[in-house]
C-alpha cells in the first residue's frame, strides 16, 4: 500500500520537520481521522525508506503537540479530543510562514508595499474566486 506521506530526503529541510508537517496537514484535512491508527514506526520508516529513529522522533513530537497518542503495545492513533484542532492550527501556522517568506522575497527584490498588496489581491482572486468583496474593499 502506498504511504499517504511523502518526504524529500534530499531537501535541506530536515526530514522530521517535513513529516511532522505532513501528518498535521493530513489530520487537519481529514485524510487521517480521530481514532485512526498510524503505521508503526518501523513500517513507516520502510514505506518511506528513511531512518526509523527519525520516524520515532516525529511520533514523539506529534504526541507532545497533542495531535496523536501512543499506547504501548497498541500503537499510535490520531487523538480523539483536540487532535484535529491542534493540527488545524499548526497547518495555518504553515500557511502564515509561507506567506511571510513570500512577503520577504517580494521585499528583497525591491517590490514596493503597494505593489506587494496588489500581488496579494491577484493571488486571492485566483484562489478564492467567489469572494469579490475582498477585491472591492
Amino acid at each position: 500500500m502506498p504511504s499517504i506521506f511523502t518526504v524529500d530526503p534530499h531537501s535541506g529541510v530536515p526530514i522530521y520537520l517535513q513529516l511532522i508537517e505532513q501528518v498535521k496537514r493530513s489530520v487537519a484535512l481529514g485524510v487521517l481521522t480521530p481514532g485512526e491508527q498510524l503505521p508503526t514506526v518501523k513500517q513507516l520508516a520502510l514505506d518511506l525508506t528513511i531512518n526509523a529513529n527519525t520516524v520515532g522522533r516525529v511520533y514523539r513530537e506529534l504526541e507532545r503537540d497533542g495531535v496523536i497518542e501512543t499506547s504501548p503495545g497498541r500503537g499510535s492513533f490520531v487523538r480523539d479530543n483536540g487532535g484535529v484542532g491542534r493540527a488545524t492550527r499548526a497547518a495555518s501556522d504553515v500557511a502564515a510562514a509561507a506567506l511571510d517568506t513570500a512577503v520577504r522575497e517580494a521585499k528583497s527584490i525591491g517590490i514596493a508595499a503597494d505593489d506587494a498588496i496588489a500581488l496579494f489581491r491577484k493571488a486571492l482572486a485566483r484562489w478564492y474566486p467567489g469572494s469579490h468583496d475582498m477585491e472591492n474593499r
Binding site: G12, A52, N53
Partner: protein, 311 residues
C-alpha cells in the same frame, strides 16, 4: 567501563594508520551509538576502507584503538557482527547454495529462511558458481550472508556498489529494517542520497582526517547559506568574517554567499543593513554540506562543528 545504554556500540579513539610514509588515517575519533545507522562519507582515498579494516582487526592501527560495546574486539563478537567489504572475495568454485551451507555451519544465528528470502530478493542463482557472478551479484551474495545471521552490529563498506537502483533500494530497506530491530549499522557510500535517507548520524572524512560529524537532521538545521546581491560590486563584508557563526564567504562580482552556522537570520539581517538588492537564506542538503566540507577551501566552520559534535 560499565556496559549501559550510553555505551556506544562502536568507539574509535584517536585512530591513526600509516602505510610506510603514507598516513592513511590520522587521529580519527568517532562514536556510534547503539541502535543507530551511521554513514561514513568521503572521496576515494579519504581513509574509509582503512578505518573499517582497523575496526575489524584486518589491519593493525599504528596508534589509537577501537572498542565494541566498551571492550576490544574479541572472537565471541564475530557471532553477532557482520562485515561486507568493498571488494568481496568469495570462493569462486563454490555455488551460492554451498556458501549458504558453509554459513549455516559457521554461525549459530544463521537463519535459513531469511537467507533464502534474500537470495530471491536479489535474484541470485543458488546453483551458479560464485566465480560466474557479476560484481554486483557478488556484493549481493555478501549481503545475503551478512543479513542471514541477524547481526547486532553491521559494518558495510560500499554495500550498494554495482547494484541496480531496485537492489540498491533493497539494501537500504534491509539496513533500515535491521536498525529498527535494534541493530547498529555503519556503512559507507558514494551515493550521498542513500546516506541522507538511512543514516541518522554521519561523518565526513577527507585525506585521512575527520572533517565533520553530527546528526544529519541537525547539520541541515544548523548549516545555511545567506546569499545577497548588490547593485554594484558586493561590499567586502570583512566585518562579518569575525562573527563566530560565519564560515567561508564567497564573492563573485555583485553576488556574495556567506556560509553560516545557525539559522542565518542574524547574518541576513546584518547584510540587509548594507542595502543589498536581495537577500535570501538557502538550505543545504547533505551533498551541499559534503562538497563544502571537502572543498578546496576546507571551511573553518566545518571543522568547528566537527569539534563540537564529533563525540
Amino acid at each position: 567501563m560499565m556496559m549501559n545504554e550510553g555505551t556506544p556500540a562502536i568507539s574509535i579513539d584517536r585512530l591513526t594508520k600509516r602505510y610506510g610514509q603514507t598516513l592513511a588515517v590520522e587521529s580519527l575519533s568517532l562514536s556510534v551509538p547503539q541502535g543507530t545507522i551511521f554513514g561514513l562519507l568521503g572521496t576515494n582515498g579519504a581513509g574509509k576502507t582503512t578505518t573499517f579494516k582497523c575496526m575489524l582487526g584486518l589491519a593493525r592501527p599504528s596508534e589509537g584503538s577501537v572498542s565494541f560495546e566498551g571492550r576490544p574486539l574479541t572472537p565471541p563478537l564475530f557471532e553477532r557482527l557482520a562485515y561486507v567489504p568493498e571488494k568481496c572475495a568469495l570462493y569462486e568454485w563454490m555455488t551460492g547454495a554451498q556458501l549458504l551451507e558453509m554459513q549455516r555451519r559457521s554461525f549459530s544465528r544463521y537463519d535459513d529462511k531469511r537467507a533464502n528470502e534474500l537470495m530471491d530478493l536479489f535474484a541470485l542463482d543458488r546453483k551458479k558458481k560464485l566465480g560466474k557472478f557479476s560484481k554486483g551479484q557478488q556484493t549481493a551474495m555478501a549481503l545475503v550472508l551478512a543479513f542471514s545471521i541477524h547481526p547486532e552490529i553491521l559494518v558495510l563498506d560500499e554495500p550498494a556498489a554495482g547494484l541496480d537502483p531496485v537492489h540498491q533500494r533493497h539494501v537500504l530497506d534491509l539496513i533500515i529494517g535491521e536498525s529498527a530491530g535494534g541493530a547498529t549499522v555503519v556503512f559507507s557510500s558514494h551515493q550521498i542520497g542513500q546516506v541522507e535517507r538511512a543514516a541518522e548520524r554521519v561523518a565526513i572524512m577527507h585525506q585521512g582526517t575527520l572533517r565533520l560529524a553530527g546528526e544529519v537532521e541537525q547539520l541541515k538545521s544548523d548549516l545555511k547559506v545567506v546569499e545577497a546581491t548588490f547593485d554594484t560590486d558586493a561590499p567586502s563584508l570583512n566585518g562579518l568574517s569575525a562573527e563566530p557563526s560565519v564560515g567561508q564567504i564567497q564573492r563573485a562580482g555583485r553576488l556574495v554567499r556567506v556560509y553560516v552556522k545557525g539559522n542565518g537570520d542574524e547574518i541576513a539581517r546584518k547584510i540587509g543593513d548594507m542595502h543589498p538588492r536581495s537577500v535570501r537564506i538557502l538550505d543545504q542538503n547533505l551533498e551541499d554540506i559534503f562538497l563544502t566540507t571537502v572543498g578546496s577551501s576546507g571551511s573553518a566552520m566545518a571543522a568547528d562543528v566537527a569539534g563540537a559534535s564529533g563525540r
